[in-house]
Amino acid sequence: MSSRWSCALVGSILILLLCAAPASAHSFKTDGGLYELFLEGNKAAFLDLRIVIGVLAAGLLIVLWDVEGLVKVWLFFLLGNGAGVLISAAGVPDPSFVLYGLTLVCALGAAAAVSLPAIWMRGLAFIMGAVPVVAILFDHTLGDVPIGFILGLAFGLNLVLATASGLVALTFQHIPYDWVRIAWRAIGAWLVAITIMILAVELAIPKAG
């Protein structure tokens, strides 16, 4: 796939991000020592189920695409984290629905075991690195989010990604049967199902859960 299409995809998602409906801000502690803030950032990454599911789906898709895929796209995920901090500082609205859309794309891609070109996977890794950060930091100005929190958040997101990808890759390397791949694809389908339900709850009962 040409880089023109990739740029169009990234551009479309950024436009969606800017058009997303506003919602109330997330609250997290912004005072305390570096370590406390780092842990607070970890907590924000680990305890937000919609973000955990999104990053898990991305990790699953990456390894189903290529067993060493994480190494190939991780840099772009990290760059996405950085971009997310900058985008959130621009005052964008809540990107929750963009995150659900991306989670569906990743989980459906994993369930269908689609083989995307490397450039698409890098683009997806970048966006999946950025959107969760924006989802947590939106409605906060850059100056009011301490560096410790941002580092903790990025560490937490990367830990979830690495754990998901590492676990899937490990099973591929140590359990060399076809059904292992199928089982992971089934789990991709579960992630789609969970996301559809969460999306329905969000639409029916705003801010439930």
Binding site: A186, I196, A200, I205
Partner: protein
């Protein structure tokens, strides 16, 4: 049929029989009522137990796995993927308050029809099987979505409910692996007949 599952061969049949019975025994356990079940853990537990403690749901979901095993590859993995996907769509309709008629009839019918398909080892084209299973999944999903408890976390409820459904399919697939032996084949067909009976009992209002 079981080329997809090379580790599951007749030499392991006793182990698999034990595993299947263990899963069935676990599913027969009484619910613990000591905790109030609010918040994230309550949401997960509530969602997880919802399909497991409704026998009309249990038999149909086990039957999906069983029928997949009867049909062989690729149905053995496609049906358990189709079911949760379409079920989530049905759940979304239920959560959003979109009405679907004859939900209880559809759920009972799913047990009866899928049970008969297993009992008579009926083969169907992949597309037809997926459409049939998907159609039944909408009824099950709608029921779960409509009954979504307000007191618990909706997110974790969804996680628990999808995982429980997947595990019930896995129980059916495990039971279906017994098809490799003559005795196992009788066990599978008998299970199908039992599922059909349970479905018929719900359909006629006996359960």
């Amino acid at each position: 049929m079981l080329k997809m599952l090379p580790c599951i061969e007749l030499r392991y049949s006793s182990l698999w029989v034990a595993a299947v019975f263990a899963v069935l025994l676990v599913s027969l356990g009484e619910p613990a009522l000591a905790h109030s079940g609010e918040g994230h853990s309550g949401g997960f537990i509530s969602g997880f137990l919802h399909p497991i403690f409704g026998w009309d749901h249990v038999v149909a979901m086990v039957a999906v796995g069983l029928w997949g095993a009867v049909l062989g590859s690729p149905a053995i993995w496609i049906l358990p993927i189709v079911f949760p996907l379409v079920m989530a769509f049905g759940a979304a309709l239920g959560i959003l308050g979109v009405p679907i008629p004859f939900i209880e009839v559809g759920i009972a019918l799913s047990g009866l029809v899928l049970g008969l398909l297993v009992a008579f080892l009926i083969k169907a084209p992949m597309a037809a099987a997926a459409v049939l299973v998907g159609a039944f999944a909408i009824f099950h999903g709608h029921a779960h979505g409509t009954e979504l408890p307000q007191a618990v976390s909706a997110y974790t409820y969804g996680v628990g409910f999808v995982i429980a459904t997947g595990l019930l399919h896995a129980a059916g697939i495990l039971l279906g692996t017994l098809m490799g032996s003559q005795v196992g084949r009788y066990v599978v067909r008998g299970s199908g007949a039992l599922i059909a009976l349970v479905g018929a009992a719900f359909l006629m209002g006996f359960a």
